[in-house]
């Protein structure tokens, strides 16, 4: 197996998923983590 072929496969794989990787994060994740953190402080000892 050549280095070139291996590199090409890696590049194609990343390209295939690049669109997802480069998308802005949906707000739901920020909200979710904030929600989880809030759950912590209300139920935690502080």
């Amino acid at each position: 197996m050549t280095v070139e072929a291996r590199r090409r496969i890696g590049r194609n794989l990343r390209l295939l998923y690049a669109e997802v990787l480069n998308q802005p994060l949906p707000d739901r994740f920020d909200a979710l983590l904030a929600d989880l953190a809030a759950r912590n402080t209300t139920r935690g000892s502080s």
């Binding site: 197996m1 994060l25 983590l33």
Partner: protein, 194 residues
């Protein structure tokens, strides 16, 4: 504080601001991995959300200083497979699911190559495709990928190697000349896939 007292539900010891930041930073990679499993962005985001919740509530079982992304991938993968078993939904319904998305790629030639690549990828056994994604696209080490999938390192290595071999074979990547040219031409002439 009394150590014998069990932590209340929802207050894992490891879950804090630092963990929150780490989780946020890992989301893009998690989404890409979920997408590689599902080919469905909505379902991917649901999986990522479940993974974050699970990670947060089990944060105390994560060892600081180890690879958080690998830990998260393990969680996501387990969630995916248990959901998959419930749904009994076939994984291999993914052919062409990416085709529409690829239209945003700039060059027609790249689109064609990517479609061929995707077809070849989808033809791989699922375990090999997953191995290739983890090692080839997410840049995990063989050791990390093996841990994520719960297999021996040797198994992971051979899966990746076989996956690469099959891709090279089916895409005609012989490595000596311009390896993409044939694929481009065949696709441009409307030859039937694979």
């Amino acid at each position: 504080m009394n150590n014998a007292m069990p932590a209340p539900v929802g207050t894992p010891q490891g879950a804090d601001d630092e963990m929150r930041g780490l989780l946020l930073g890992a989301i893009p990679a998690l989404r890409a991995f979920a997408f590689s499993l599902t080919y469905d962005l909505d379902r991917s985001d649901d999986l990522v959300q479940d993974t974050l919740v699970r990670a947060w509530t089990k944060a105390d079982s994560f060892t600081r200083g180890t690879n958080l992304t690998a830990w998260l991938f393990t969680i996501l993968r387990n969630l995916f497979y248990s959901e998959q078993r419930k749904r009994k939904r076939e994984v291999e319904d993914a052919d062409g699911a990416l085709a529409g998305r690829l239209t945003s790629l700039p060059e027609q030639e790249i689109r064609v190559e990517m479609l061929e690549f995707q077809e070849a990828l989808n033809a791989l056994p699922f375990s090999q495709r997953e191995a290739l994604v983890l090692v080839g696209a997410q840049n995990f080490t063989y050791e990390e990928a093996a841990e994520i999938c719960g297999v021996a390192v040797g198994t992971m290595k051979s899966r990746v190697s076989r996956a690469r071999g099959r891709l090279i074979e089916s895409l005609g990547m012989n490595g000596t000349d311009d390896i993409g040219a044939d694929a481009f031409t065949r696709a441009a002439l409307g030859a039937p896939p694979g």
